[in-house]
Symmetry: C2
Subunit: 189 residues, 2 copies
DNA sequence: CCCTGGACTGAGCAATTGCTCAGCTTTAAT
DNA sequence: ATTAAAGCTGAGCAATTGCTCAGTCCAGGG
């Protein structure tokens, strides 16, 4: 690494991934990225053009998820079963499971429960696409819950950091408890 | 239908679907919709809010594709095989096959050939997701080729109309010829 | 010590975008 | 004929957004 490198470029890339995780593809903006990265707006444009940066971070997120979840030696059907199981397992914490937990933590009303259901469906679909196609490009998109119906910004903000940093301080047991409660409500209701 | 209905609302919905097909989720804008629908900008906001309209049209596109391609009685693996076959069959013209043909028609340089390859992969992924999950919501996205590398706007414009109107005037034989050539180039190169 | 060049800043700009609102047209009811 | 309500228009606005550019800072070569 060049001695003159002060880390801004790398922080911008990381911040873009975080912002995409938090806000989704449609809502992500350069200002959110520069604020999170702690750099001036000019530096982002010095290193990148926004569309290219967004696409690059998007694929980087996907590659991280693939590395974490997919074992190519495994049969697709078995991998799907394993992922579904891991999403409910206190021990394993893949990104997708954490995201479901983030929603489940505040699933106290019907609107959020419905969103939770949609998210679980979307996650399954995306894993199915990944496993069947065996190719990462253009497949991965995080679920974008209806912004007007759900207000989980604060919780989502905290969890997005954990997603990127593998923060060990998340209370997985508590999250999983609420997760199971939410799914139980969904199946009985 | 109310005698006072002059069709603006329905035309806006149809135009939104066309614009989403043409421009993709990120680039679609209200002005493109109102221009295509031939209505004033105020009417769109009288009937809809843009985020809701966009989501609604997005799901409508997906439902049309599902109705056209997916026979629930069929086994997923068989359906996947059938789709792949149909994409190369002169007789059948599902939306996805038409889209591939649109790209193939002008696949005269390596950049477009690469895009064609990406598109085919994306289409397979999306069908795989559809078949495995059995739920339409949030799964369908059209491939968004790199705008700087590919300039197919005119061709895409014409074909998007055919996609929505089932225009019988498209030269399927010619399109399929170019499609097969493009795939042959891809496999040898 | 001076000079070069890359990292970096941030106020502000040019262009965009969803949406408003005053007003017009058409239809149906009274 | 009059009234009311809904469809509809489009110039223009308030807010946003990616990006520019003049300038600062600092490491390293000569």
């Amino acid at each position: 690494m060049d001695r003159r490198d002060r880390g801004g470029r790398e922080r911008i890339l990381m911040a873009t991934m975080a912002v995409l995780l938090e806000m989704g593809l449609l809502a992500a903006q350069t200002r959110a990225v520069t604020e999170r990265a702690g750099v001036g707006t000019g530096l982002l444009n010095h290193h990148f053009r926004w569309p290219e940066l967004r696409a690059r971070a998007w694929e980087a997120i996907f590659e991280e998820v693939v590395a974490d979840l997919w074992h190519p030696a495994e049969a697709p059907a078995a991998a799907l079963d394993r992922f579904i199981a891991e999403a409910f397992d206190e021990g394993a914490r893949p990104y997708w499971a954490l995201w479901i937990q983030a929603e489940a933590l505040s699933a106290t009303d019907t609107a959020i429960q419905a969103a939770l259901s949609r998210i679980r469906t979307a996650l399954r679909q995306r894993l199915a696409a990944l496993l069947l196609a065996g190719n990462s490009q253009g497949c991965w998109t995080l679920p974008q819950p209806n912004a007007t119906a759900i207000r989980l910004e604060a919780l989502r903000d905290g969890l997005a950091g954990m997603l990127l940093n593998h923060d060990p301080d998340i209370d997985t047991a508590l999250a999983t408890h609420h997760l199971r409660q939410a799914f139980a409500r969904e199946q009985t209701g």
